[in-house]
Symmetry: C2
Subunit: 343 residues, 2 copies
């Protein structure tokens, strides 16, 4: 049955991590938590996933909606070996007190401050640093994508400077009250955006500056990255290393991948559950090399990209697997993560 994992919070990330855990043979999902009664709670009921709520009052409320509750969150925490905290930004810090109280290991998300954990985590970059730790933080979607690209590029040389533009989706598809619906929003207007600082929590020795703008879309972020290497590289070498790196997938614009919308359409067409795209999707035509300078553009599915990292983080924190590549391969096989899709 494997390690007993509880998922605290059952929103965008929580429900996906719960799904991913159910696909692993070395861990089991012992419960998820919700604060509001809704169709997702009903789906958890129907799937037989034990559902926990903050308090006895919540139990009553959920039962009025016809939803079965297994108990309160504290009980779920007690029963778990490790908790994946997928509560909203900042709430994880409050729950950490409870995890500490019961001596439980926990994995936090990128919305929490780096200080919450001993290690900020990217499977490709620093898996081993998380081995056996008590608290690990999986960095945010944009940071996860940047880390994957940076750690791939490091395999062909040293990176002198990274300058990146992050075009961010305004809201997730279900967030019907959130905007913007029309404006372009410098966010933040002062450079660097927090993404550069966040990358350094995983890879400290890197010269990176990021600027971010929020746009009216719900379908993926898009990064434009410019890297100055200390050595000359070739485009072929670059394509080859990206093709050989897990969780990075090259697609060709020319085959109908004309926009993030079309990438999502492709994910629907290959019948990905929830159209989840775990890979960084690099447009092959965008890969440009001029002597020591490199450019590329890629899409980042904000809802899904950190999901495989969470699974690996569980394996690292619980020491289920010491070898990052073995954990990554196991996770990727379980979720159908692709390599070399394009012909």
């Amino acid at each position: 049955m494997g390690v007993r994992v509880a998922v605290n919070g059952y929103g965008t990330i929580g429900k996906r991590v719960a799904y991913a855990i159910s696909k692993q043979n070395d861990m089991q999902l012992i419960g998820v938590s919700k604060t509001k009664p809704d169709y997702n709670a009903i789906l958890a009921n129907r799937q037989g996933i034990p559902l926990y709520v903050p308090s006895e009052d919540h139990i009553k409320k959920f039962e009025e909606f016809g939803i079965k509750v297994a108990g309160i969150i504290e009980e779920m925490i007690k029963e778990a070996d490790v908790i994946v905290d997928a509560t909203p930004k900042g709430v994880g810090a409050k729950y950490k007190v409870m995890y500490e109280k019961f001596g439980k290991k926990a994995i936090f998300q990128g919305g929490e401050k780096a200080e919450i954990a001993e290690v900020s985590f990217s499977a490709l970059c620093n898996y081993r640093e998380a081995l056996g730790k008590k608290y690990v933080r999986v960095v945010s979607c944009n940071t996860t994508a940047l880390c994957r690209i940076i750690c791939a590029l490091r395999r062909i040389g040293n990176l002198k400077k990274i300058r990146a533009t992050i075009v961010r989706r305004g809201a997730d598809p279900h967030e019907y009250k959130k905007g913007p619906i029309e404006s372009l929003v410098p966010d933040p207007v002062s450079l660097p955006s927090h993404h550069a600082l966040d990358v350094k929590t995983v890879i400290p020795d890197v010269d990176i500056v990021t600027a971010a703008v929020v746009v009216p879309t719900t379908r993926m972020h898009l990064h434009i990255v410019n890297v100055e290497m200390t050595n000359k590289v070739s485009r072929e070498e670059l394509i080859s290393i990206l093709n050989d790196t897990p969780r990075i997938l090259l697609v060709r614009w020319n085959y109908g991948f004309w926009s993030t919308g079309n990438i999502v359409e492709w994910a629907r067409d290959i019948l990905r559950p929830r159209y989840d795209i775990y890979e960084v999707i690099v447009w092959e035509e965008s890969i440009t090399v001029d002597n020591r300078e490199v450019w590329l553009m890629y899409g980042v599915h904000q809802e899904a990209i950190v999901v495989p990292e969470n699974v690996d983080a569980i394996r690292a924190i619980m020491k289920l697997e010491d070898d990052p590549i073995k954990s990554i391969q196991k996770t990727d096989a379980s979720l159908g993560i692709l390599k070399r899709w394009s012909i």
Copy 2:
């Protein structure tokens, strides 16, 4: 193996109808056609679906993209018992010449004029009229939804007047060049919109007026329908009849179905392939009854709703099944179409 079906056109509707055919045990997919080489053509290759193109020149072009082609469309037509024409609006009329030439039965989509076929089709309303016909036209997504609702309501009384507002999605998710991105567009500005006329091609004896407005979304249409009955009805009766009608699904706003975006999110969460929603999704709270007047609001997934109707149309035109309910039940079971989702 069953009836040999070719799908001419492999866009939004064609790829979904092809998928649905592959789930039936009384029909087989013998090929699909495409005019442009792209990832969808590669997916067809990988799934072993024979791919046909308009001309020898196209074969060359496709092969340059590494895509295998089985032959030209004319060859596909010759091999089929029936063709589902899912070509763009107006193109079906041109292909009809070829279907006639080879004496093949064909099913057209709602983008074609009603005159193209002997029957305009809605499975719930007039399945039997299509039995053994040569040409049948499945009406458009909005008309399909209106017909389902009207034919459901007719089971509890006579409809004196139907007055409906159709809030239409501006583009499909993959149509990255199409708008509007900001405006509300009366389309058309003169009443009635074509939907009312189109409903009458299926149900001639009905007093219906529709007005349509296009809005900036890619996720579903939304209808607001007001019906005056000749008799008094109760809300309970209405809910009961909607619950008992296939392909109509009641959901409660209160359970998180706050918008079309949240309906799509639910479809993702239940792992619907491509998040396809074949059902008319009625908000239960919107159902309002005042003496002989009825109001309701529902969402219509423009990409998917006509798919089950196409499967039934094949069964009717080929006389595979004389009983509409048996065909509908068979189709619905094969596609996982739900009844009574809400508690």
